[in-house]
């Protein structure tokens, strides 16, 4: 029983990442009608915002310690971060330790800016072009972005731990008398994802801006004829989608050390999630993200593997096939979207 509960937690956790990326993808697709293959790269750039902030905060000066030697036998240069020198090792250490949560603030403006530049500089010119061209150009962009990151940060994963206070485990089952031990940061990640998703939906549902955007998604031309500058609003939505992907990336860094190709690892999966959810449906994308996350976790349990060998390797694709055959437009897709 508790094994099942644990896997549900794992699934929700994995699903959070899928849902956030898929949400952004759907947002871009729904507003601009663009298939954005660079969305995984936005997730990756978000993660590297956290890495960068951690590097900035731990910028150090070097002092020679004559008593120790480095690997060549020369006197060892001991590095001390500036923040530790300014605020004392105690406070300075804490600041560095909390760099991942701080990176949320750092990442929002950067991601919005990246989104703006991408949309205005490149994607704007591809609204009228076939989807295949959009795929090719955004795929090219994704490669360029990840190679730039690789050039500066190398190919190896970079450790970005969570603050110590959030790094331990919590016993979630204590209330119901069970033993369900789960990492605190993963719980944080899940709730963070829920907050972001809720915020995006609330923004679209309860603000005038959101209402206009929704109207534009339904019928762009009419909204334009009403004298509303829908293009500008859609550009802003692109920035929002980029920020959502970026924040998903920032918060993901303590779960798995980020590397330059993490975006590509998520790209195909998040496309499957979007399509299973149904093209153009925001709730569909979120639900599909969580459902596939949970199913993936279940499939990695032993009874599943012993029942169907290799099921843990293919579960997402298998589910995608079944859902698409049973429900032609995914879980909540609209008719006529991306069907030709």
């Amino acid at each position: 029983m508790d094994a099942f509960l644990l896997q549900i937690l794992n699934g929700l956790d994995k699903g959070s990442a899928y849902a956030l990326i898929a949400l952004g993808l759907t947002l871009i697709f729904g507003t601009l009608g663009v298939v954005n293959f660079a969305h995984g790269a936005l997730f990756m750039i978000g993660a590297f915002c956290a890495v960068t902030l951690q590097k900035l905060l731990s910028l150090s000066f070097e002092m020679v310690d004559p008593e120790k030697t480095d690997f060549l036998g020369n006197p060892l240069k001991v590095k001390t971060p500036y923040v530790e020198a300014w605020f004392g090792p105690e406070v300075g250490g804490t600041i560095i330790e909390w760099s991942v949560p701080f990176a949320i603030l750092f990442a929002i403006p950067i991601m919005v800016a990246v989104g703006f530049i991408m949309e205005r500089g490149l994607i704007k010119h591809f609204y009228k072009r076939p989807h295949a061209d959009q795929i090719l150009v955004t795929f090219g962009l994704a490669i360029v972005l990840q190679e730039v990151i690789k050039y500066f940060y190398g190919a190896n994963p970079i450790p970005t731990p969570a603050p110590d206070a959030l790094n331990g485990v919590a016993n979630l089952g204590a209330i119901i008398g069970m033993d369900i031990i789960y990492p605190v940061w993963r719980i944080v990640y899940f709730f963070f994802a829920c907050v972001i998703i809720a915020a995006v939906f609330a923004f679209l549902q309860f603000t005038t801006f959101g209402m206009v955007v929704r109207a534009g998604m339904a019928d762009r031309e009419t909204v334009g004829l009403l004298g509303i500058n829908i293009d500008r609003r859609f550009t802003i939505m692109f920035g929002v989608a980029a920020a959502v992907a970026g924040l998903a990336g920032v918060m993901y860094t303590p779960i798995n050390s980020p590397n330059y190709h993490m975006g590509m690892d998520f790209l195909v999966l998040s496309f499957v999630v979007v399509v299973v959810g149904g093209m153009g449906s925001l709730p569909g994308a979120v639900i599909a993200g969580f459902v596939l996350g949970i199913l993936e976790s279940f499939a990695s349990m032993e009874w599943a593997i012993s029942l169907i060998p290799g099921i843990n390797q293919i579960i997402i694709y298998l589910v995608a096939i079944i859902i698409l055959l049973v429900r032609p437009r995914g879980l909540m897709g609209r008719k006529g979207v991306m069907e030709d």
Partner: protein
Amino acid sequence: MSKTDVSRRGLLRTGAVAGAGLALPTIFTAQSASAFTNEPTGSTVTLGFNVPQTGPYADEGADELRAFELAVEHLNGVGDGGMLSTFSSKALGGDGVLGKEVKFVTGDTQTKSDAARASAKSMIEKDGAIMISGGSSSGVAVAVQGLCQEAGVIFMAGLTHSNDTTGKDKKANGFRHFFNAYMSAAALAPVLKNLYGSDRKAYHLTADYTWGWTQEESIRAATEAMGWETVNTVLTPLAATDFSSYIAPVMNSGADVLVLNHYGGNMVNSLTNAVQFGLKEKQVNGKNFEIVVPLYSRLMAKGAGENVKGILGSTNWHWSLQDEGSKTFVRSFGTKYGFPPSQAAHTCYVQTLLYADAVARAGSFNPCAVAEALEGFEFDGMGNGKTLYRAEDHQCFKDVLVVRGKENPTSEFDLLEVVEVTPREQVEYAPDHPMFAGGQLGSCNPGA
């Protein structure tokens, strides 16, 4: 029209079919048929270094490339000569190999068998490489080794740890200096027994491909022989990035040791996830829960940050070794690049020197002569103590290091501490050991 082999270049035959009209016989550069593939005829000899330059192992590949460049410099007498001064064989004089200057070409394996073979082929067919080396995964090593066997050049494997490379997929033209899964297990088991006792229950998470399986098989055999019980073994997809759903069941399985048969990115993620779930602080059966990573890579372990502290594993070589060979190598590498070399760099450097030395001793670049010179060759001064290139399977036998993640690192390179240097006798096995059975070396192929 005469037929020649895949890679014989510069060969001349009059009466060509296609394009014969374009060329008058006088502008043909006459050469005699060469005795073997890519026989070096000029004043230089070309080696091919095939390493991952893109993809997850790009940094490891970059380090291998640095080591290759250093080795070529030393062979050509540039720089401080490195391990040439500590190497027990003195056939090389720092004046190239057999009087020829050493040149090299590089390529990208992308850690994919197809791309690696394409790149190696272009080195052989286009650049006239006489030896191929490098690589960072067993799948690639086996694929390129097979290619070199067909083409008739020597393959000096880089980082490849699967038993199969010198087991069921061994080839007469291929040689491996790096250690293998069996040796890791044989070296680790006694240390594990010493530190964690002989009454332990192990849970294996294994990357679901050939290397992972041979690793798991080896560790299981070695630990079960000393009294450990294997509670469970679970295969994880290679493409997995989040291992939480595989780690969670470990907690209530009754196991008190987790063995992570993962490498590279998989290892970084699974170890990070395992520590996240509090396994390091856990108490099971009245004992401390322990995590073991049988194959450590220092470069990759860096990605796991603090999580490697106190975790046991094995490695082929580590820069903190204090023998003369290692110290010399670390000094030349560190002076040139500013940081210490990785085990991948070490094995590639040594392989290049060993190849050059074998050529010098054989007095010929002919792959068959070189292979003969390498077979059964015993040497010292290359960082792992007395080492033997066994003739039966072209595997090197040498000391293996058992290492542990350091608690108080003094620098960003100082991640691992050597717990024990397991002597060579302890990791040796018979050439017909069942884990290595099923393949044949075949006969050496000089290509022509």
